[in-house]
Symmetry: C3
């Protein structure tokens, strides 16, 4: 593996999740694999879980880690080609990416969407320039449109919890929020579920349709209550509108789930990528109950990152 | 040991200081103990000495260290229960602490007081929520009311320097400052000295009385000159008022010590936790003389942290 | 070696560059040398390349690294002696440097000039106070007047690329910029080239004369075109005026190099320390051509730092 950006970079997502579960039993078994190898983690946006879990994954593999918080360390990057750089940007991404590539064996990069310019965001201009210029294997730490380490951790969590021969029913439901959030987690969870061995349903209010490139194979409905019936796993997530790009087009507080709202499910487990705004996106009662898988998902972020780094290291060596 | 928050978490403070002194002679002797173990250092407030000395202590024990500057990395935490999070906080401490606990084997946490709400500060609400939700052993890197790693380093320093069969006379004296500072260092030094084998005197202007929970057994006087007589060790520190909570209720520049003011002491050594404002809290002449122990105290921060981490690791393994 | 601040701290710059080239072939050959040793990197100003390359160099030698971004971590240092610290500074450099020295075996320090007070800048007051008080070997990560790790990397790059018995012609040319930049890179490159086995020419518009202490032995001219003739290596760099201190005294856009402007050179290779403002300091066509050595220079920053750290570690052990 040389790129981990989308489920499409993975031959068999189900098998990869299973390998991560095996790794979790012996996290230090491969600590020689990363010896003398350096992982560079580049953040153009803030991160807590992603940085820590990826750092831990790399340490488990014996790698060194160098972190660059470009958003805070005052290094404004120029992304446009052939402009005269007489403004506020101090370095072009061509040089910045290439230099960081020279100092590291694998790079992880986080770059959120602008939510202003849909074409640029959905063309993944920033992320793709990094890939082009850095010259090293790249792991997405969440890009404008996708968050694959989160989705792999989610698939690991579902795989660990599901204990029936029958395919689980997995529902992705839109949840309220006060701010316009990226579609990345929703797009990404959707493309991974469409590639996994589950029955997958997406539900959201009208106007919150996701880009269809990520939802092929999913059942999509505006009726949340109906979608939740007999669900085994419910993934709760807010996103802003794709069609009226980056907008909050209605707040729909009634879409927030509580324990009461889960009564017609198959004793469904509840998932969220965190951070979660309690009482707004998801009820306190759900998060404080044993229905909640949010901490298990967060823990599995380590093993999602570790199996991906392992695959890349094995490709290099 | 599973918690290091106060002298009350230590069975025998004198013995612990002696063990740290032994460790200092062979700092790498236990570097296998921390193998595969990760220390997470969480800062809700700035830190220089504490971060570096604790990081060094962990490295000496073979641990990995991950640092989270939550104050700077833009992750505003919600501390209140059962509120609708529709404001500026992005994550509840319940989830944040639990997630960080999953990525680390031991957590260190720094959380200063508000100096606005005495009840909340003295109930250690933030620190206690971390302990409750993180699920791992916790080391205080200074909380609202106490700074135990500093006090242990101070006790180590006194133990190293005192060379008489007679108990040393140790004086904690209030010093001037232009800003309202927490009472944590003073409370903490006081509770450790009350538990150590020393004669302990506290002196401060009227109105700067500390909470009596931390000063039981100490002699307390408003007469600085009298307090200093025959002193072996003098600990210099500013704090704001506990009773008129968080206020500077008088600047008392005459309370600043100079070499001249030390003439009736027993050739006393001078201590301060740093950072120190020269010429305001303590005279340049004292800091530049061989009376000053401030650098030795700072050095001993390493071994204070190392003996505490060692005790916790031994409890875990 | 106990100090790496200037070419004057190096007995034989040419030999040092050659040793770095040898090291590059086996970067991990000395990974036992840095065992149990800690490098502290102190930044009073932002850094990308310097931090990462020095960190990588230290890791290659088996050292631990602790980074302190004092510019961001809110620890304003007092530099003046014998003042009453009742303003915004929270710690004196005497204590800060000494404490950081106690926690580390080698310190690296970055401190830019004010560009306001030439005497203070050229006396290297900040850097020299660090050396005086920290008590450990110090590596400059760029000071007010010099950037020796960059210059050593530049000499390594020239040594690697030059393949003729004849001394290469090396030209340092001033380039346009919109902001007043330090003279450090230019001073430093000049003093290293004057000590190396090259024919060295400096060209700049009138008024941009460098301090003559750094340029002894160089040919200096205001005629850029003439300077470039038959050049083998051209180092492009902006700097502000030394004589009208810290000022931009003319923007001279015609001084920017393009491929067209290189036609009378000896197929010259182009160097720049990065970050570079494309289209302002240097033409896109040059940077995108195989004439450009900027990435090779950045890569060699690792080995420049590594040979310097190795020399210091060998002196210590």
């Amino acid at each position: 593996m040389n790129l981990f950006f989308s489920v499409n970079n993975v031959v068999n997502p189900t098998a990869l999740a299973q390998e991560a579960i095996d790794l979790k039993k012996q996290p230090f078994a491969h600590e020689q694999l990363g010896k003398h190898k350096t992982l560079g983690l580049i953040f153009l946006n803030p991160s807590l879980r992603t940085r820590l879990s990826t750092q831990k994954a790399a340490l488990n593999l014996g790698m060194n880690v160098m972190v660059m918080n470009l958003d805070k360390e005052g290094w404004a990057l120029e992304m446009r080609d052939n402009v005269v750089m007489n403004g506020t940007t101090v370095e072009h991404i061509k040089e910045a990416a290439a230099v960081m590539g020279q100092y590291c064996d694998i790079l992880g990069i986080r770059s959120f969407p602008s939510l202003q310019d849909r074409t640029s965001d959905y063309n993944e201009e920033v992320f793709n320039k990094f890939i082009t210029y850095c010259g090293k294997p790249v792991v997405s730490l969440e890009s404008a449109t996708l968050h694959p380490l989160q989705s792999l951790a989610d698939l690991i969590t579902i795989t660990e919890l599901h204990n029936s021969a029958k395919k689980p029913k997995v529902v992705l439901t839109w949840a309220p929020h006060i701010k316009p959030l990226p579609q990345a987690v929703a797009n990404s969870f959707s493309e991974w579920m469409c590639a996994a061995e589950v029955d997958f349903v997406i539900t959201h209010p009208k106007g919150y349709e996701l880009h269809e490139a990520y939802t092929k194979g999913a059942t999509i409905t505006h009726h949340q209550e109906q979608a939740l019936e007999q669900a085994d796993f419910i993934y709760v997530k807010n996103w802003s509108s794709y069609h009226d790009y980056g907008k909050v087009i209605g707040d729909y507080p009634e879409w927030m789930l509580s324990l009461e709202r889960l009564k017609n499910t198959n004793n469904a487990k509840i998932m969220h990528c965190l951070p979660v705004r309690r009482g707004l996106e998801l009820g306190h009662d759900v998060l404080d109950s044993d229905r909640s898988l949010v901490l298990k998902q967060a823990e599995n972020r380590i093993y999602a990152a570790q199996i991906v780094l392992k695959k890349i290291l094995e490709t290099q060596s």
